[in-house]
Symmetry: C2
Subunit: 338 residues, 2 copies
């Protein structure tokens, strides 16, 4: 059955039922099906939004609907994680061609509901529109952690201090490597290729790590979505500082090195959609976070007062290197996704 046969209101009813089955938070006053959703709130609320457009951000030729549903939520969870917050209510806007199969929408919902369950989030509203291409916008609302006095424990892009260590979770560049393989249409297979493709298709934001870091005193963070050097540049700009990154300390997976021995560093520096967390804090705070984290955390450099040149990349001998790749600019188009 096509979505055009089900109709807009039939589809909304189907979504509402699926989301209601998955449980609603106790603070919810009004969920899907009214002019607005309503919930009881206190303290500092957070909100972020991200849009995925077919042809710009993904192709249905290689992204399964289930992963699309998962990622539509998790790219936003990653933003809340970068603030050290707790995600709560999500809004889903889904633009669909009329010929979309209802079974595909069901798979999308399964993926999104799995992510909702994993990250403690409920869909409370949204919008369904017809379009000649598939687009997904998720708006995610959450709340900040609070200290004993009720003051918010937030990590921001502007919270970095000169002397802070710069740390990142996990490996960088895997998602961009996976996309390269997917775009090559099956040219590369094997364990490393499968791992990299999975890194691109199924993001795993570090929510609990972000919350733990905020509790441990980290005050500056960003999620790496547009490429390490570009996102670190945003922290430098917002904090009015510079940064030094030691290239050999950037965490690169064995799979990425194996699949792209020449370009692994470039992919790690400039590839997008990693959804790792970049944290900056005094070295002793970062050490505590490393000890408590359930993911590996690598210290890759330090924030510096010299802001003439925002982000400097140094090689093993401490010599400055040219940045090996640019990040992603949605209006100019860029490196990996052209």
């Amino acid at each position: 059955m096509k979505v055009s046969e089900l109709g807009e209101f039939g589809l909304i009813a189907r979504l509402a039922e699926a989301f209601a089955r998955s449980g609603q938070p106790s603070c919810l006053v009004i969920g899907i099906g009214d002019d607005a959703a309503a919930w009881r709130a206190s303290g500092v609320q957070l909100v972020t939004t991200d849009t995925l457009i077919e042809g710009t951000h993904f192709s249905l030729s290689y992204v399964p609907w289930r992963d699309l549903g998962w990622n539509a939520l998790t790219v936003n969870v990653s933003d809340i994680a970068a603030m050290g917050g707790i995600p709560e209510q999500a809004l889903l806007t889904l633009a669909l061609p009329s010929q979309t199969e209802v079974a595909q929408v069901d798979e999308f919902l399964d993926g999104m509901l799995e992510a909702c369950s994993e990250y403690g989030t409920a869909v409370v509203g949204g919008d369904i529109v017809g379009c000649d291409r598939t687009m997904v916008t998720v708006t995610l609302i959450g709340r900040a952690l609070a200290d004993d006095q009720g003051e918010p424990l937030l990590m921001t892009r502007s919270g970095a201090q000169a002397g802070d260590a710069i740390a990142v979770t996990g490996y960088l560049g895997d998602s961009a490597g996976g996309l390269r393989i997917l775009l090559a249409k099956g040219a590369t297979s094997g364990e490393a290729a499968d791992y990299l493709k999975r890194a691109h298709l199924h993001h795993k934001p570090h929510l609990t790590t972000g919350q733990m870091a905020a509790r441990e005193g980290v005050r500056a963070a960003i999620d790496v979505s547009d490429g390490l050097l570009q996102d670190l540049g945003h922290v430098c700009e917002a904090s009015d500082l510079g940064a030094i990154v030691h290239a050999q300390r950037i965490p690169i997976s064995p799979a990425l090195r194996q699949a792209f021995p020449q370009d692994a560093l470039a992919l790690a520096c400039g590839g997008g959609e990693d959804y790792q967390l970049l944290l900056t804090a005094p070295p002793e705070v970062i050490e505590r976070v490393k000890d408590k984290a359930e993911v590996t955390i690598a210290v890759i450099g330090e924030m510096v007062a010299d802001r003439q040149q925002r982000v400097r990349l140094l090689d093993e001998e401490g010599r400055e290197m040219a940045p090996p790749a640019a990040g992603w600019d949605h209006l100019r188009g860029a490196t990996w996704r052209r």
Copy 2:
């Protein structure tokens, strides 16, 4: 200059500056430019979202950018008005072709900022993406009015009671009439045509009327965005009731009667994008609301316990009429916007 020359981050900086100039609410903790926006909240929060897609919801051949910016916000203000709430924080997601002129984006911003100022709202974040067509999603967060005990004063689709009078603000069908004229490409001109076109291009949601109605005790409302009979049907469904509407009481403007003498009733019953408020409440409550409202309010019918046939339209002699037009279904396509 094209937006591709300015780039994604140049455009975000331009938006952030424009929105910052227009003032930020005192509850705001973090505005545009971080991974998430943050604000201090208490009580019951509201959220709604609406997307406008070029080719589906509008054509740039007849919608000025300034009106697009105004409407992107006001269609959401209308949803908050229908809950009786107070709009506060907005998120703007803008998808733009790379060849869009920056001057056009500036006009869009002017219109949106004018609406922000009119309705007491601030843009605190969003997303900028490249696309081959223009799309705008606004998510609007607000809060519910509260009574003296701090309990929320909400109007919902499910709050209607049998015996409630059904009332609507302003005139219905003007927007659909205006769209007909716009699509006819200048075929009709004159004062009536200009008035109808303006009704389509520049929505004026009834925010203060919605808030006043909630304070006066109205507990059921919806904004008329998909057509009177369809939206009233949503209230019937959510409240598990039926409705009787007297056709001759439906408020139709002199301009609509003049421009479309044959179809005025059909446009008023089934045309979309009116953004009038439909309220249901005991007749004495509706009388108080009529007395206090700054807009005209017409009582067009009553909610009934008989829910076999959701919405019944009666002619002057009380005989049942066939509904003259269907509302809008975004996945099936429908009446006026095909």
